[in-house]
Each structure stands twice: as structure tokens, then as C-alpha cells.
């Protein structure tokens, strides 16, 4: 279809048309503008502070995408995503620092990209291990088994053993210039930003495509009713474990990406609160929606930062306001989850969909 706007109503005649990425010229133009904004406008106008905020948003999106896949699309509740991010971060760090790479691979900047890929696969396999109980249990019980991932991985294995590799007993430090993608040394917030944008786009596209495939439909069927899915011939255990693998893979890549923003890595970077906040992100943004993941991450990071900037001018009059802000921020986060669950259970994505529909149907919205 090559019209600028879709006519009012649904005129798709084939599934291919309905699932097309670029349905109209308007959508194509809109996406080009978005890409220009992400790759040109933001790096041009944003200072280091806002770029670092964007990086936090990207980190949150990448972290929450796996949670969205598990909870939103496959119906498998998880509170252990932080552990798989940690696995990715540690695997990548250890490979970059400790693996005996041939010199040419270090010179050509191949070590880090290879470590990212291995980190994704390692975290995926580790995630499958903790997804095994999903064959037998679900709901609240599955939450508990995924929580075990945090305690076993971060509090036990990473803390007691991995952190002690090389007799360090402290944070692994990543010297400047260690993180290289080919000739591109990632040593500034802006470079991390570009890497983050590329990863976010790639994973959003991959998950969107997965959801349009046989695998995605199987996941949705399992989410909606696993017994019916099994009756339809879907291998429920296989697809559940596949969901855990993909979510873990994304988490692993997220962790491996995040080390490019850190000069040192320690288990303190991956508290249990991280897993909890990622679930909060999709609750606020909207479950079963990639848009929701993005909106939730923006809400979690940007809105909270704006709130902080809003109270800063008041700090002259109330000096303790800034010191109390983290408390206010966490209270606001908790309150936001409660309010969204009560008044907008479909999250920000639903609001976005309504706004979009309003304009799509304008001026005959009735």
C-alpha cells in the first residue's frame, strides 16, 4: 500500500498488508523523522547530562524488553531479570579482561563484540535453567523460583566466586580503551548512546518480528491459556523455555552493553531492586506492548529526573528537599504503579494507542 494515509476503517486485503512495517508514506516519514531525531537531533542538542539520562532510558528499555517478553507475551512471571543482566555483564567483562585473545583480535576490536554475543548466549542458557520450573509451576510460585536466580547468581556465585577471580576481592576495573567495537573505542557517553540506540532498535525489531511469527503466536497462546495451547498442539514446555532463553539472551546483551558505561563492575551493580523495577517499568508502560516498554522506561527515568529538576529551584528555600528526593522518587514510583494498576491497567501504551486513534479517525471519531 503506498497511500499517504490509510482510509478510515480497515481496508487490508492480505495478512502481509496488515503486518507490513511501512503501511503508508506518512508512517515511513514519521519513522524517518524519529530516526533523525535519535541519531542527529538528540546528540546535537543534548549535553552530557541528558545523554547519560538517555543511556539510562536505553538500559532500562533493554532490561525491560526481556521482562516484557516473559510476562507480557508469554505470561511467565519473573523477578530475576537483574541476575541475567549480571551474568551478561560478568561474562563480557571476564572475556574482555581475562581471555587470552590473540593480539590481532584485540587490535581490531573484535574481542568486545564477540564477548557480547557469548554473554547473551551464556545468560540465555542460565535463564533457561531457572525457567525449568515453569514446566511445573506458574504464577506466584514461578515468581519465587525466578527470585532464586537473583540470590543464587548474584549473591552467591558472582559474589563468592566470580568476584574473587584473580584474587581481586573487589570490583573488576575496565581500563579506558578496553571497550572497542572494531576501530571504534567506546569511551564517552555519546558513544555509549549510539551503541544503545542501535541495540534498542535491533531488539525492538527482533521482538516485533518474533511476535508476528509462529513462535510469537505460540507464546501468546500459552499466555492466554496454556491448556488450550497444548490442546492446539503447541509444545508448551519448549516454547516457555524458548521464551526464557530469548529473555535471558536480551538480558545478557544488556549487561554486556552496560559495561561500556562503567569503568568498574561489582555485584553491587545488580541488586534485586533492579529486577523489581523492570517489572514496574512494564506495568507502568503497558503489558504486552513494545511501546509500553519504551514508555515505561521513559516514565521511570526521564519523568523522575524532570521531577527532580522541578524541585531544585525550591532547594534554596527548603535545603533538605534534594536530600529527600530519592525517597520522594521511590514513593512516586510505588504510587505510580498503584495508580496505573487501578486507573490505567493497560499502561501508557494504551493511552498512546487512544491518542493515535483519535488522530487517525479525526474528524469523525464517533
Amino acid at each position: 500500500m503506498s497511500t499517504t494515509f490509510l482510509p478510515c476503517g480497515d481496508y487490508h486485503q492480505t495478512y502481509a498488508q496488515e503486518h507490513a512495517w511501512w503501511q503508508t508514506k506518512f508512517i515511513k516519514g514519521k519513522m524517518i523523522c524519529l530516526f533523525l531525531c535519535l541519531f542527529v537531533f538528540i546528540p546535537l542538542v543534548a549535553n552530557d547530562y541528558w545523554i547519560s539520562i538517555c543511556n539510562m532510558v536505553g538500559y532500562t528499555i533493554l532490561g525491560a524488553l526481556g521482562v516484557q517478553l516473559l510476562i507480557g507475551y508469554c505470561g511467565q512471571l519473573t523477578l530475576g531479570q537483574g541476575a541475567f543482566i549480571a551474568v551478561g555483564a560478568y561474562v563480557s567483562t571476564l572475556l574482555v579482561l581475562e581471555f587470552p585473545w590473540p593480539q590481532f583480535m584485540l587490535d581490531w576490536g573484535i574481542a568486545y563484540p564477540v564477548s557480547v554475543l557469548v554473554a547473551g548466549i551464556a545468560a540465555g542458557i542460565w535463564s533457561v535453567f531457572f525457567g525449568l520450573p515453569s514446566a511445573r509451576v506458574k504464577g506466584f510460585y514461578l515468581i519465587l523460583t525466578t527470585m532464586a536466580a537473583q540470590f543464587i547468581t548474584v549473591d552467591f556465585l558472582l559474589t563468592q566466586y566470580v568476584s574473587q577471580i584473580g584474587g581481586r576481592g573487589q570490583a573488576f576495573s575496565l581500563p579506558a580503551g578496553t571497550i572497542k567495537l572494531g576501530p571504534w573505542v567506546i569511551d564517552s557517553d555519546l558513544k555509549v548512546y549510539y551503541l544503545m540506540i542501535m541495540l534498542v532498535i535491533v531488539f525492538c525489531v527482533v521482538i516485533s518480528n518474533l511476535m508476528r511469527s509462529r513462535v510469537g503466536r505460540a507464546w501468546v497462546a500459552i499466555r492466554d491459556n496454556d491448556i488450550s495451547a497444548e490442546v492446539m498442539g503447541i509444545n508448551v514446555v519448549k516454547y516457555k523455555l524458548l521464551a526464557f532463553f530469548v529473555a535471558g539472551f536480551i538480558a545478557g546483551i544488556t549487561g554486556a552493553f552496560w559495561i561500556s558505561n562503567l569503568a568498574a563492575i561489582s555485584p553491587e551493580h545488580f541488586p534485586w531492586f533492579l529486577s523489581l523495577s523492570l517489572v514496574g517499568v512494564i506495568l507502568i508502560g503497558g503489558v504486552s506492548s513494545i511501546h509500553g516498554t519504551i514508555f515505561g522506561a521513559i516514565f521511570m527515568v526521564v519523568v523522575m529526573e524532570l521531577l527532580q529538576l522541578a524541585v531544585m529551584p525550591l532547594a534554596d528555600t527548603y535545603p533538605k528537599l534534594l536530600m529527600d528526593f530519592l525517597f520522594i522518587k521511590e514513593a512516586a514510583f510505588g504510587l505510580a504503579i498503584c495508580l496505573f494498576l487501578m486507573f490505567e491497567p493497560n499502561g501508557l501504551a494504551y493511552r498512546w494507542w487512544q491518542i493515535k486513534n483519535y488522530f487517525n479517525l479525526w474528524p469523525f471519531s464517533y
Partner: protein, 424 residues
């Protein structure tokens, strides 16, 4: 209707935020304000009021704010006032990273930092941006200027503390042990493995214990949040240590000492500075008797230069907090601010407040600088940011802190101090 209210409230927050970006930005039309702002020196401060180390972080944060008031009210930095931007980051490293960038946006010339994890994570960025970073992390890893040129602190570093504590115990307590001369003394450590702060001096502790001929027992993982440590104490009982080193903060240390007392471990306790304060005897009660700790500063209210000001400003700016509840961490906060202020004054006189000038014309011109507050003289060298080689060791005995020993590592092991021990 309700969802509309929600949307309205969110929009309001967004608009307020956007407005504040404008409010925080430059306003060229108001020359008067701009001039005033030019006379202000922006300083950022990261503190932990709600996180894993908040048991000691609250008092430190109060000390920072009160000391800045004192500096401003006694003439500022050569007439310029300090504008303090103080944030609680909840001991979360990602939060610290974004706050650091916010400080950069606010044009802070120096930063007062907190934890070891975030200070070490930020160290290369700080070096790249050339922003002096005076932390409350006294990790030995931050002293080697080849790696962390812009990190400084006004205290005895953790590694020197650990070495000093072991040495003081070895010199004063071990000879009184009935087994002295018959066998090697036994030592073990309790700390949170996952915490970069708690584990920062473990390598130095083991090295020093080997140097003095100790048998080293298995490390025990004790969380900073620990309230029950019986399993760790039972594990230690197998080893029968003569002395246990603690490197956590005070609540965790008190919990461990209580359990050690209840289970009759029978060992002495040596404690790094963050676990050894006025709250330890309150929390550990009888178990605290005989506890030995490192305190590079005077305890709150002790007789020391400038302590009268510390008390005066505590009463003036935080009258709601009784003085008997204040601790040595307030004094630590003061030490960080006074040290930074002195560096700023020197740099300002020498021609500028750029990061490089503050480092070279400020901090690195301090040779045996007497700060007051009971802290040993401070010296920062171009290649060595260990401010002090002395560890002041106190003992809690008969309901008071008594100076037990002053161990000067540089005097005792000059070669190792100069050539081996820097940076870990």
C-alpha cells in the same frame, strides 16, 4: 474521569520539570543574578540517606551541610560562597552515575562523593573530566595517581587502617595472650563480599597478617544489612580466631559482635572506621567492651581544634537532633569539606578554579597540612594520594574511647610503604 486526573497530574509534573530546566539554565537578562552566581562556587555532594550505608551516611551528610554553612559564614572561598548541591543516591551506582552528570551540568568544580563502588566506577570519568572528587570512600585503590589522579580524601585509607589495626593488636594485645610465643596468632575477617567498600582492604589485611606471621582463617560473608550472623560465628568457632577484623558499617558490625559475644567466640574485635563509632556501644552493649577500631578523626564532642564549631553548627542548623545522637561521622563530613575548602582557597589564590588548578595548586600543595578535628597532618603528593601514613587506633573501654596506639606504617616499613603498598 479518574484517568484524566492522572494524565493531568503527570502533565503537570512534566511541565514543572520543563520549566525548571529553564529555571536551572542561564538567564542572561538578569545580570545581577548572573553576577551573584559567578561569585558562587558550585559543589556537588553525593550522600547515602536511605541505602545500605545510611546508618552512617545520615550523620556524614549533616556534617557536610553544616560545614559548608560554616565556610560560607566565615568568609567563603576568598569571598566567594559555596553553593552546595546535595543529593541522596541511596547507595545505588546507576543513580550515582546520573547524578555525576547532573553535577557537571550544574558546573560543579568539585564533588564530595560517598561509596567505594560508585567512586571506583566514576574514577576514570572523573580523571577524564578533571573534576576533583573528595570521597568518603577511603579505599586504597583510589590513592595511586597513575590510575585515579583526581580522587582524594581526608582520612587514613582503608588498607592503612587494616594494616594499622592488625599491627596495633599484634603489638599490644597478643603479648598478653597466654599462648603468646607458643603458636601463631589466628585472625579472620567478617565483611560483605559483594560490597566493594567492605572488601576494599581485604588484600592488604591478608598481606599484613602474613607479614606479622598470623594464621589466616576463612573469610565470613556478613551483609551490610545483617541482623543475624550466628552461622558465620559458628563457622569462626571452628577456626578459633584470636582476633576478628570487621570492615562493614556499624549496624552490621554490632550484630556480628553481639552474636560473637552470645556464642562465646572469645576473640578480640578490630574494626575499620565506618564500623567504629558512638553507636557501636549503644547497639552492641556489653559485646562492645574492648572493641578496637580505627578513627582518623576525633569523636564528636572530643577535645580537638574546631570541635567547638562542629558542635555550634550542629545546634544551629539541626537543633532537632540531640547532640548525644551525633557521631564521629559528622566530624568526617567536616573534614572533607574543610580540606576541600582549603584546596579551593589555594587554587583560587593561585589563579583559578579549574579542576587541574584545584588539584595541582590546591590539594597537591598540602604538605603536613593541619586540618584540625584531631586528624593527623595531611600530605598529597603528585604520585601518591595517601594523605596519611598513621592509623589512630582507639579502644572502647570503661565506657569511653581511649587511644590505644598510633601506628605509622611509613616509619615502620618505609620500603614497603614507598614501593609496594600504593594503590591496594
Amino acid at each position: 474521569m479518574k484517568s484524566r486526573i492522572l494524565v493531568f497530574l503527570m502533565s503537570l509534573a512534566l511541565i514543572a520539570g520543563i520549566f525548571s530546566i529553564y529555571a536551572c539554565g542561564e538567564k542572561p537578562e538578569k545580570k545581577e543574578k548572573a553576577k551573584l552566581a559567578a561569585e558562587e562556587i558550585q559543589i556537588g555532594s553525593l550522600n547515602d540517606m536511605t541505602g545500605a550505608t545510611s546508618d552512617v551516611g545520615k550523620d556524614y551528610a549533616l556534617g557536610i551541610a553544616e560545614a559548608v554553612h560554616y565556610i560560607n559564614e566565615s568568609g567563603g572561598i576568598n569571598g566567594k560562597l559555596i553553593k552546595l548541591h546535595q543529593f541522596d543516591y541511596g547507595y545505588r551506582i546507576p543513580e550515582a552515575l546520573t547524578k555525576y552528570n547532573l553535577f557537571k551540568q550544574l558546573k560543579c568544580v568539585a564533588i564530595l562523593g560517598w561509596g567505594t563502588g560508585d567512586t571506583e566506577a566514576l574514577a576514570p570519568t572523573v580523571a577524564r573530566d578533571k573534576i576533583p572528587y573528595v570521597s568518603a570512600s577511603y579505599s586504597g585503590h583510589l590513592c595511586d595517581t597513575a590510575k585515579t589522579p583526581y580522587n582524594l580524601f581526608f582520612a587514613t585509607d582503608y588498607s592503612t587502617q587494616a594494616r594499622g589495626l592488625i599491627t596495633a593488636w599484634f603489638d599490644t594485645k597478643w603479648p598478653k595472650n597466654p599462648d603468646y610465643g607458643k603458636r601463631k596468632p589466628r585472625i579472620a575477617a567478617c565483611y560483605m563480599f559483594a560490597s566493594a567498600f567492605s572488601s576494599a582492604s581485604i588484600k592488604a589485611y591478608k598481606n599484613q597478617a602474613e607479614l606479622l606471621g598470623f594464621d589466616i582463617g576463612p573469610d565470613q560473608d556478613v551483609s551490610l544489612f545483617a541482623i543475624d550472623t550466628k552461622s558465620q560465628i559458628l563457622a569462626l568457632k571452628e577456626f578459633k580466631p584470636d582476633v576478628v577484623l570487621h570492615t562493614n558499617t556499624v549496624m552490621s558490625v554490632a550484630a556480628t559482635m553481639r552474636d560473637a559475644y552470645a556464642l562465646k567466640l572469645g576473640a578480640d574485635h578490630i574494626i575499620k572506621n565506618w564500623g567504629f563509632d558512638e553507636n557501636l556501644p549503644k547497639l552492641a552493649a556489653a559485646a562492645a567492651e574492648g572493641a578496637i577500631g580505627c578513627a582518623p578523626w576525633a569523636f564528636f564532642g572530643q577535645d580537638a581544634p574546631l570541635m567547638d564549631k562542629v558542635i555550634e553548627y550542629a545546634e544551629k542548623y539541626n537543633p532537632g537532633i540531640p547532640l548525644e545522637k551525633r557521631t564521629i561521622h559528622t566530624v568526617q563530613g567536616w573534614a572533607s569539606v574543610l580540606g576541600l575548602a582549603e584546596a579551593l582557597k589555594r587554587a583560587d589564590k593561585a589563579g583559578g578554579l579549574s579542576g587541574e588548578s584545584i588539584l595541582k595548586n590546591g590539594f597537591e600543595t598540602m604538605v603536613n597540612y593541619e586540618l584540625g578535628l584531631g586528624i593527623a597532618p595531611v600530605t598529597f603528593k603528585e604520585k601518591d594520594h595517601r594523605g596519611q601514613s598513621q592509623a589512630k587506633i582507639y579502644e572502647w573501654k570503661d565506657s569511653k574511647f581511649t587511644l590505644l596506639a598510633e601506628v605509622d606504617l611509613k616509619k615502620r616499613w618505609p620500603d614497603k610503604w614507598e614501593n609496594e603498598w600504593l594503590g591496594w
